[in-house]
Subunit: 345 residues, 4 copies
């Protein structure tokens, strides 16, 4: 890419340098495979401490779609469905991976990518009958595909609603670190663990080469999870490479420092774009922002910057998606802002 | 592990140091995701050249079981089966991953892990009928689970047989580098590509952190393969990490140098063990060997060395599996041989 | 049921008496199983003639949901989806049967249960990418779940649209006989065959004990269909019982006479209800009608008549579904109309 | 078929005349669909009484393969397998229907089609690990594909073994009536219910037009079974036609009278064939027998009689399968015996 910088996603670079150092340092050590190595054990212990649940079952998986299809096929019976936002990753960006495991996604329209009891209720209010699938899980992302996050109150209400209705609550945390370090966040990792049945802390989009750490707190879905992992091809022979990475990311809260860096740069862009008078598709204080710009401005920006055109807003304006990461240099942000100012008519 | 050395498998260590260097060097470069990066393109170009087929479709996948279930579910229709050795990895070590995609494995007993037209024929001789599955693929491994390899003549006969019977021939090449550098090998990578419809060059067991390079030469199964990859969760966001690794492994034939090292150490062990008068379960010139030892000798070896007890041979003897890798130091081999000599009664 | 009459559905009674006679007459004859009997051959020949396609492949299947899941899983590749109305049977009344075979249903909101190129287009306009499922089939019902039917013009436009976009067009014809004998219909069975790739003529809801006749006209999906039938458990040992029934229903167009009877009684109800000033949820000239009545009237009707309350329209009114069949006696219609008149305030 | 008689199978004719009478008599009654009719309730009550378990859950399903795939996919988790004889129907005659639901069949070689703890043990003795499927069900047939039956002692031992090893025991009872009325049988229907977790009483091969009655006695697999039935397409709209048939077959034990008739005619054939000095492939006292005849005799018989050539025994002899049914007339047996005598050299 010959861009000044790409804001296309948060997985354009490799990984935080400390991870490569740790991989190098441990390289010739011999370890058992399949996640039975001591690094994985260390990462698991660190994460158990952070979620304050010594009995949480934790597994390191190599890929987000793989994790989503693994988790949902493991916790649902054949006739059970999952409820998700219509804009959710599992519904729009996974090539039918969930359905390929046999399960229906029941979608809910939502403007900001977030679910609430009110939005879910109509699905539950259908008459219960063996002629229809039975909803058994709610899938949400934090942060969402639209950069938005859940407040503690919102997640608590959703969690209580799920408990009352015997639904598993599952958070796709591919970008959880960004959510938990957003300036508008009031949730802790411990809250997340307490309020959900299963969730994951994403690594690939938050500074790792690859890997997602699945945390299971609900007793009834812990059993035999490793069988599911192996059957879905989600178990790495060299499990150590996930263990080493999550050990690095989790110790001293590195993953949150990296996410905070990305959030702060995104906020800087947001403020600058707002000051130029441009509106936003959603209100995001995480590393994904969606300014709405004149198409002619977008055309000029496209020459030097990488990003996705998210959707047309009207004939002359579109929302674009800008993403920052642990690796984004502040001067590239400045550069982008300057160009944007310059392009403003 | 407090062993002097573990011969338990060829994925006990990290990866060849040059891979870590390449990952480090490229770390801050920005690349598109999902295998659209230039490193992946380089690796693909290298491998196309090595198989001498500029039209081969090549994809880098993160895991062996994942690759097997991906390939077989992509090339088989719902009612089609795959023929495999009873000892094959897909039949014994993948938690029913193939069946989980809906396909029957029709197994063939074979003493050395290898298939031949003669062994497969009885399955094809069943009356053809819509009451039974229809075999459409033959799955073999080279080297096999028992360390054995195919000769050019054997593979040619099998390939012709498959063509005549309209069966796809698929090689699980998790340990293909070991096979192709074995002293008894007469096959080239180009032969492999010509004689099969789809195969892969394994990375995880041959010096990479993870990754298998799938090569598709048969036209009719090339189409839409990326849809299958994504749906099965087999596509890494940071595809570059596979591209970088295979670029390293393939350029200058590094993967073959690493495999040759492992083979030669395994052969050294074989000769020493034979000279002590112990028989072997199979005749292997690759990095997996299966000596048959007295149980009391095994008990003593177990204290200082890691390995699997493969199977009981009689009341007092068992076959063990010893595996070497790119990372095995020759002095550990010497150490093992000395101990074995010492333990001989 | 102690009702005066149930209008709950069109499968409340057994089957047309001539079918029982034919079953009785042939009862001791010996026939081969699995649809290889001469009655099935006769039914197939009759239907081939009616659709004017001597090369159509025709199979008799025991059940509507079974037929839908069989057809869609047979014609779709793993990553391909089917487009259907949000109110469609496969989306709302089959317990996720289609997803259980691995395929996503992409739903389209539609007020009258019918699809059109305009309604489908937004789904096709998503960027084509291996990150999303690829639509490959359009599923419609004629008549729909809401009693509406397709005109020849509508179906022709939809058919052309599907051809242009390489989509298979599949009609669920569970109630096709009612559609084709509706007073507002201008389609023939031959038109249906020409304009679709695969469809079925329903028996269970049109006078048979059970059975749906699948007609395949598109060459590329004919191959190996019997393997799919057997694998899904959709093949009856005594295939003759389907052959005998469809022979009866098809010869002399009996199925259409039965449907016309039901339609005419439904129309009689419609006229009477309209004359009482009640509106309807949809405009239906088939055997399913959806009058909107005051809830207090519904409560009174419920005592003596069976029917489903389809949906609440406002606080005081609901749409109910009334269904007639081949077996509905005209005096029950009169009885219902009289009661309705009496209940009118 | 222009044969004197076909002994090819027990589903060549329609159904016992009393069933057609009952269907006719009830034809115009209105009943709710999906098995909620009073006839199904009557059949269920009859069968509950016969198995002496008022809490048994009982469902009437339309087809044997459909029942097998329904039951196994309902009671197994994704990574669990079923153990079955290599000659079993699910392994050889169902086009991979079980694997198509995602489950591996672990097969056991057995000369007479029967399983025992000794035969199953080697499968359980594999090391327990998440790298392999976990056996959770044992599938047997009574009578088997080879006409053999289980004694009470054999079934008791197998049942105890399954309980000890936490395996569900499932009997495919497509021909259960023949087994329970065999002269060498000492099992009752009540025994069957007590010794298994789930089984079915087959109708299609024992005098019904179609239908299998599934009996679930194990508490943990009762829940939500109707969801599975609907999702697999195994629920008939007109459930009454199964209810009426099983009411007929079960009341006054009609199904057993029909089976006893078939068994006695098969025994007559067996005695006659033995008296001619011909051996048998298996020792069967049910309605399927497997005499071994000279090929030239078989060639002559084939002209006037329908039957399957089961397998070649040596160059000049083959085993054939002869099947009788409720509808077989004794004079056809005599005819066959006379011809066989005549053909004997």
């Amino acid at each position: 890419m010959k861009f000044i910088h790409s804001f296309a996603n948060d997985y354009s670079e490799g990984c935080h340098p400390s991870i490569l150092e740790a991989l190098t340092q441990s390289n010739l050590e011999q370890h058992p495979g399949y996640g039975d190595d001591s690094y994985t054990q260390t990462a698991v212990a660190l994460l158990r401490k952070m979620v304050d649940d010594p009995y949480a079952d934790i597994y390191l998986i190599a890929g987000g779609t793989l994790t989503n299809l693994l988790v949902l096929s493991a916790i649902l019976k054949p006739f059970e469905s999952v409820i998700a936002a219509d804009t959710s990753h599992i519904n729009t960006r996974e090539t039918g991976a969930i359905e390929a495991t046999g399960h229906k996604i029941e979608t809910v329209p939502t403007p900001d990518g977030k679910l609430s009891p009110e939005l879910i209720l109509p699905i539950l209010n259908k008459p219960i009958s063996y002629h229809t699938v039975r909803p058994k899980a709610v899938y949400i992302s934090n942060s969402t595909e639209l950069g938005t996050i859940y407040t503690k109150k919102e997640l608590t209400l959703l969690s209580e609603f799920c408990k009352e209705n015997e639904l598993f609550l599952f958070i796709d945390g591919a970008r959880l670190a960004y959510a938990l370090t957003s300036q508008s966040n009031d949730l802790t990792l411990k809250d997340i663990a307490e309020l959900t049945d299963i969730f994951y802390v994403g690594g690939a989009k938050c500074g790792a080469l690859l890997g997602e750490a699945v945390v299971i707190t609900r007793e009834e879905i812990k059993k035999d999870f490793k069988y599911h992992i192996k059957q879905r091809g989600a178990m790495l022979a060299k499990g150590r490479i996930l263990g080493i990475q999550f050990t690095q990311l989790l110790q001293d809260g590195l993953i949150f420092q990296l996410a905070a860096h990305a959030n702060s740069l995104a906020n800087k862009m947001t403020l600058a774009i707002k000051s130029l008078g441009y509106p936003f598709l959603t209100e995001s204080y995480t590393n994904q922002i969606f300014p709405i710009l004149p198409n002619e401005v977008i055309d000029k920006l496209k020459i030097n910057y990488g990003f996705f055109i998210w959707e047309a807003v009207d004939r002359n304006h579109s929302a674009i998606r800008l993403i920052t990461s642990w690796a984004t240099p502040e001067e590239k942000i400045d550069c982008f802002i300057n160009d944007l100012k310059f392009f403003k008519v």
